[in-house]
């Protein structure tokens, strides 16, 4: 039963990951990404980490990819047209892939395949996870939090147009924003109608 579940969802994860890369329509690619993330979440549950699985679905599939779709639909990208031309991008992507697989390979080489066996049979309890996170790994945890805060502030500053008066424009409905009911500035960090620019 567990093996069957593993093979079904591992296959789904790999298959949909390939679709993400090769499909020409960005919407299909993004929806396949959801399937990839969901299948990976199932694998986490099988590995005895249901918390990680739930968070994977909640954060990635449920929120971040929705923002991807939001941007794709808002910009109405129909299919990839110019993506294949950029030469420099191709080399950067290749370099990234080499580094990623190099690091993965290094990990396997150092630790041997024994270290990537299944976790313990019982699931990782939330309590144990929380205790580790807030004692042994407190500093990295806080640093990640700070990083996110910086990103939020940065996005807000970048989205703010110079000379915009928040108080004045906040009661103006949509007529000042041409592209439909939403005027999205920045990466979806800030939704506000009526930027009165």
């Amino acid at each position: 039963m567990e093996k069957l579940t593993f093979f079904v969802f591992a296959g789904l994860a790999l298959g949909s990951a390939i679709v993400v890369v090769v499909h020409r329509s960005p919407v299909y690619a993004t929806l396949s990404l959801v399937l990839t993330l969901f299948s990976t979440a199932v694998l986490f549950v099988l590995l005895g980490a249901p918390f990680l699985g739930a968070l994977q679905v909640l954060v990635y599939a449920g929120a971040i990819v929705v923002l991807f779709l939001f941007v794709i639909m808002l910009l109405n990208i129909q299919s990839e047209e110019s993506a294949h031309g950029a030469g420099a991008q191709r080399w950067v992507a290749l370099l990234g892939a080499v580094i990623l697989f190099g690091m993965l390979g290094l990990g396997f080489w150092r630790g041997g395949f024994a270290s990537v066996g299944p976790l313990t049979a019982e699931s990782v309890s939330l309590k144990a996870l929380a205790e580790e996170l807030f004692s042994r790994y407190l500093l990295p945890f806080e640093i990640v939090g700070l990083l996110l805060l910086v990103a939020v502030i940065g996005a807000t500053v970048a989205a703010r147009r110079p000379g915009e008066d928040d108080e004045k424009s906040s009661d103006v409905p949509f007529e000042a924003s041409p592209p439909g009911p939403l005027s999205v500035t920045g990466e979806g960090e800030r939704f506000q109608g009526g930027t009165s620019s």
Binding site: G62, L67, M73, G180, G188, Q192
Partner: protein, 339 residues
């Protein structure tokens, strides 16, 4: 092993049958209540009090022509309504619906999936429901549908934050993600709605936004977007969206009453650990859900719709800070030993 699986299947079947009947019953309730609020009779011809109206509606849906627009993205267009039902009929697996039943030398917990991450699982699956709206809107290839689904994606993400934070505050004094423990905590203490009234109000408002109900039904806003994301859908495919909406409302109501109103339990009453106790617990839960559904309907026909910028401002500038304030307050009270 096999009997465990059978028991789980029976428990799922019980919850499934209850939630399956939500949409037809609510169809009647919504139309009759709306008519009552607007001082007109409403559908009263089919059966006593028009009670068989849902059956007539279902028959009508069945025999309507099923149209796929020529310019639609066929695969996504056909998939979207089915995907809408999946989260709707999955989330209730973490809702406990009765006391433990002791029978034939074993204890049966009346919850379909008694997992460590109960509430998180609910929120995770519920957060996937946005994809059906987005797929429907995109695949229809219609500007009204597209606008509806863009609104839906922004709205659902915005209100999910406030909803999740208010749910988190409930879990702090309980110290567990299991909804069964939340119910047990409320049996030994007050109902959570009293100490956490602020969090409950945030939850309530966010729940209306998460289920796309008026005053926050901007994704379908018929006065501006015709029918929003499901403009192009007809016959049974529209009916599936309709069902998903009401089932989501019922599931979120079930979560709400479990978190804030004691779930299947009543204060001062101990249900026996028998089948009778289980049935009583289930009836209590259903009754509480029914009250919530009534409030959903009442609010829908009482309040006007928000403007989109007002909706966003309410979500980010009012509800989110309030839910964080509530979380800090509850955390302080919990650490201080008051809760």
């Amino acid at each position: 092993m096999t009997s465990d699986l059978a028991i789980t299947l029976v428990k799922y079947a019980v919850m499934f049958l209850i939630f399956l009947n939500v949409a037809p019953i609510m169809n009647w309730v919504e139309r009759r209540a709306c008519a009552y609020i607007q001082d007109r009779p409403g559908p009263n011809r089919v059966g006593p009090f028009g009670l068989f109206q849902p059956l007539a509606d279902v028959a009508k849906f069945m025999f309507k022509e099923d149209i796929t627009p020529a310019a639609a993205d066929t695969v996504l267009y056909l998939m979207a309504p089915a995907i809408a039902l999946l989260p709707a009929f999955t989330t209730f697996i973490v809702i406990p619906f009765g006391p433990d039943i002791a029978t034939a030398g074993r204890t049966i917990r009346l919850i379909v999936a008694d997992v460590d991450t109960g509430v998180l699982l609910f929120l995770a699956i519920a957060s996937l429901s946005v994809y059906s709206l987005v797929m429907a809107g995109y695949a229809s290839n219609n500007k009204f549908s597209l606008l509806g689904s863009i609104r839906a994606s922004a709205q659902l993400i915005s209100y999910e934050l406030a909803l999740t934070l208010s749910v988190l505050a409930v879990l702090l004094p309980v110290g567990s993600f299991r909804l069964g423990d939340v119910v047990a905590y409320q049996q030994s203490h007050l109902w959570n709605v009293l100490p956490q009234i602020l969090g409950f109000l945030v939850f309530l408002v966010a729940a209306f936004a998460e289920t796309n109900r008026l005053p926050f039904d901007l994704p379908e806003a018929e006065s501006e977007l015709i029918a929003g994301f499901h403009t192009e859908y007809g016959s049974m495919r529209f009916a599936l969206f309709f069902m998903a909406e009401y089932t989501n409302m019922a599931a979120l109501s079930a979560l709400g009453v479990t978190l804030y109103f004691g779930g299947w339990s009543l204060p001062g009453i101990t249900y026996p650990h028998t089948l009778l106790g289980g049935v009583l617990g289930l009836l209590t839960l259903v009754a509480k859900i029914a009250v919530c559904m009534g409030i959903f309907v009442w609010v829908r026909w009482t309040f006007p719709r928000f403007r989109y910028d007002q909706l966003m401002r309410l979500g980010w500038k009012v509800l989110l800070p309030l839910s964080i304030l509530n979380l800090v307050l509850v955390a302080a009270l919990t650490v201080g030993g008051v809760l």
